[in-house]
Symmetry: C2
Subunit: 338 residues, 2 copies
Amino acid sequence: MEKKLTIRDIAKLSGVSASTVSRVLDDSDRISAETKKSVLEVVNQYGYKPQAAARNLARQKTSAIGIIIPQNDMNIYSSSFFQEALHGVSNSLSQNGYDVLISSGNPTELDAIKRLISTSRIDGIILLRSVVNDASIQYLTESKFPFVLIGTCLENPDVYSVDNDNQRAAYDIAYHMYMTGKRKMAIIGGTKSSVFIQKRLEGYEKLLVEKGLPINQDYIKLENASEDYGYQSMLELLKSPSRPDSVLVMDDSICVGVMKAINESGVKIPEEIAVACFNESSFTKYSRPALTTISLNFYDLGYCAAKTLLSVLNNEPIQKGCRYVDHLLTIRESTVSN
Amino acid sequence: MEKKLTIRDIAKLSGVSASTVSRVLDDSDRISAETKKSVLEVVNQYGYKPQAAARNLARQKTSAIGIIIPQNDMNIYSSSFFQEALHGVSNSLSQNGYDVLISSGNPTELDAIKRLISTSRIDGIILLRSVVNDASIQYLTESKFPFVLIGTCLENPDVYSVDNDNQRAAYDIAYHMYMTGKRKMAIIGGTKSSVFIQKRLEGYEKLLVEKGLPINQDYIKLENASEDYGYQSMLELLKSPSRPDSVLVMDDSICVGVMKAINESGVKIPEEIAVACFNESSFTKYSRPALTTISLNFYDLGYCAAKTLLSVLNNEPIQKGCRYVDHLLTIRESTVSN
DNA sequence: CTGAAAGCGCTTACAG
DNA sequence: CTGAAAGCGCTTACAG
């Protein structure tokens, strides 16, 4: 590694002051075209780049935002969520000269957040998840630290957030089931402590109410998000005297268990029972029959959250509350016979 | 957000100089116990933490390391690899006051690396993957920038790296197949351009050679890592006049396709064909029959890579080359009938 | 449009 | 064991 050039070296080499070099790099308009040109030549020739730490110290900002790695044992998200959302965040932010700082939630997410903030490492935070009465959200809101949530905050509708319209998505899929003649819909997987599960439940119930169908608590299996829970719940439903004629599953991995139960029982899809689930994966595409899915674009979620956070950090006037990112309903054999 | 306290504020409050506060925080031994105690009291009372940017600038290091998000379209890794490895890296590093900076490989991994280095944002890098003749590795080696590879570098055995012993793992599983009486083993999934696939192929061939078995090129299906490729390849093998009696699959997701092909054909597992694969997942555990697997601990890989990088950054004398992290062979019904 | 100077908040030889 | 001073490499009022 050769010795790093400083802004003073560049100033000397181009025959101007450091202030001028700084202004050129900042693309200030108060610089003559000629000076700008000649300085940039030197800058490019030597490949000079300002040191981030010095710049950040002088500007009194970090130009970095923080993200806490979600604990996977909660099994709440599709496996690719984190990587894709992070990708979206990173792409959006790096275009604007921001860094993304990762931390594991150690011992809790809130501790990690406090650490990042107290050592002045970040200007803002993107939360990848939330629970009901989320401690991190409360802390960030009270301390007025800039953040954007991927998800929806029930307690405070003013929180900047980006989410899929989970209520709408569940409604859409239930509506589709209804249109294919199904009247006894079950819903399986995930726990009500997750906000997005609550929202989906609302969408599901909304359709039932609109169509004058009863809400049958036995059809609502929302205690756990494991594949095995999907298997066991479906088994129960299949044995029940009033077997449902359709089922909406909260995640593709849970649906693996659901499909196994149905296949073992010999019940026909979609004639006797229609199946649809959230989150596209190789399983949903290659399953026999192929599965009708709602796919969520995690990359977009991350990208949009980062854009929103940038607006907040730049004090741009933006609307409070939640922004929605589109979902996609893909209809396949598991709900429509051909 | 209240006004941040600086080291001078703390100095004033505790009646010492800023230098002394700095030394106390650094736990220098050249400080009297009393001074240390009284300063720490003030520090804790006010919750003072040094600002990272100022400290980094003064120390002339960034206390951050970089990681580039792998492009998932290569489908090279198990889906949880990135998140788990990152978790390991982050835990190991944050214990030592380091930050983890994430960047997407935009437009290429090498570009992202150069950007991070040229703006002096990081002290070192952890590479999450490599290909044969990896451009990033070449660049980092030539510029003598500290880095650790998760994986194995074929071209330069001196590169610091952390990996599973893929050769040994494949050998182990082939040995297990051999001991259960299998003599015609196939190997499916992944591409030879991946170093770890090459290593596994070596282990597989090593066992065959040791046991005096022929190496049949028709049994080696290493062109692609998709589930569908697994399905198609297995279909071919099943139709072949000399059908293999065992198959080793490079990933659990590829194995979904392999299992589908076998199940459709009605061939019996493990009596007629034994199946084993890399990477544990809900699929391998709940599949019927349950699958024998080699599981790799991605968290450990990340944790160990970070530890190694820290040693490099601290100029500790460490051995060049690759460190291995244990793998685990879990034997289930797909290779041993009960 | 440009420069000299002060400052961002730390650390660390140097001197005592 | 402790402090005053210089310095890390930038930015940005201020003055011209």
